[in-house]
Symmetry: C2
Subunit: 214 residues, 2 copies
């Protein structure tokens, strides 16, 4: 398809598509002549992901480019490729190593992962920005005096493991690793807020059931 | 305790405490004489919540005041008091009623709630900003062409209902309704990010188990 059709089908203006092309967020089309290029379904799919990242997730262009670089890196194994793409998304801040609550939080997170038998997550450890941000978040709770120990977190972590298993089951229905990793990235940006809203709605439902609707 | 001790025990500077008092985020102490006031454990507890809202959650002062007004309103029933406090927190944007994806999303959310038998959530419906933001989030996915129907969401919603039941179990260990609602608010600000980090960490664990650590 030509640029005009790509724009019509994706709902993205031709000016914005040209901007994404210049910024390296979208691969160039197949050049038919000096002024015309041909685009295909992979461009349409990628454009959807770029919109999810930039327009919805408000991911900075440089981060989005980094994410897409990993999505496209077929030299990596699946776990590393998936991890690298997700790690390139904006993360919560790293823990403050000066704060004594950080050491306490790191110990709780380690105890949690042992309790759960999450050996891979323990092995990856602080290499993962996700692990580091979990430590930082637990440290904040400890510093403010709210309880957030391994026992409190464990049952929630089990529920999240069930959610993660379902995430990967869904991803495995895609034909290629690239599509699978694209879907993981779009889920991280688009589906995580849905999950949070479902959690809050579930709290309303549960509260109304227990205490009545007044 | 005097102001100096309240500051030492809470880790909040006296200048900041005075600011919170002026802004009505913290109730005045019991005035002992023209220059000295006496504070107690309820001030310490409230200060912890104000820090969670303002310093960690970056909730605007006006919203924080609104949240605390509902936390303290003993004339309300438990569900409404809880809901009002949580609804006063900053919410995701409302759906765009002009967008045709919004009607499709509202239908999917309604179908989801029917499937799940969440009758209270259906009855509250679009009165709840949580319900509205769920519709908006689903509409975004539909608009971008990602699948997000009732069948996709239902199993995640079931997991979130289990999480919500656990949330309320934890809250019910508090002695007073006020403490219970304070803890619900602090959880919404502090524990939701922990849950999100646990979900991402679970994805890493599950991915490493299925595809190996490379």
């Amino acid at each position: 398809m030509r640029l005009a059709e790509l724009s019509a089908r994706s709902g993205v203006s031709t000016a914005t598509i040209k901007y994404y092309l210049r910024e390296g967020l979208l691969a160039p089309g197949r050049q038919l002549n000096a002024t015309t290029a041909e685009y295909d379904e992979t461009h349409l799919r990628r454009l959807r992901l770029v919109r999810a990242l930039i327009q919805v997730g408000r991911v900075p262009v440089a981060s989005a480019r980094e994410v897409l670089k990993h999505v496209d890196d077929e030299s990596l194994g699946r776990t590393i490729r998936l991890g690298a793409a997700l790690w390139a998304l904006p993360q919560a801040p790293d823990p403050d190593e000066e704060d004594p609550a950080t050491a306490a939080a790191a110990a709780e997170v380690d105890r949690l992962l042992r309790t759960l038998g999450w050996d891979a997550a323990r092995e990856i450890g602080a290499l993962s920005p996700v692990h580091r941000s979990l430590v930082a978040l637990v440290a904040t709770q400890i510093r403010l005096g709210y309880p957030c120990d391994a026992e409190t977190m464990a049952p929630y972590a089990e529920l999240m493991r069930q959610a993660a298993a379902r995430d990967l089951d869904r991803m495995e229905t895609y034909e290629s690793d690239t599509e699978m990793i694209e879907s993981a990235v779009s889920s991280a940006v688009l589906f995580e807020p849905v999950l949070r809203a479902l959690h809050r709605l579930a709290q309303e439902e549960e509260s109304a059931r227990r205490y009545g609707l007044e």
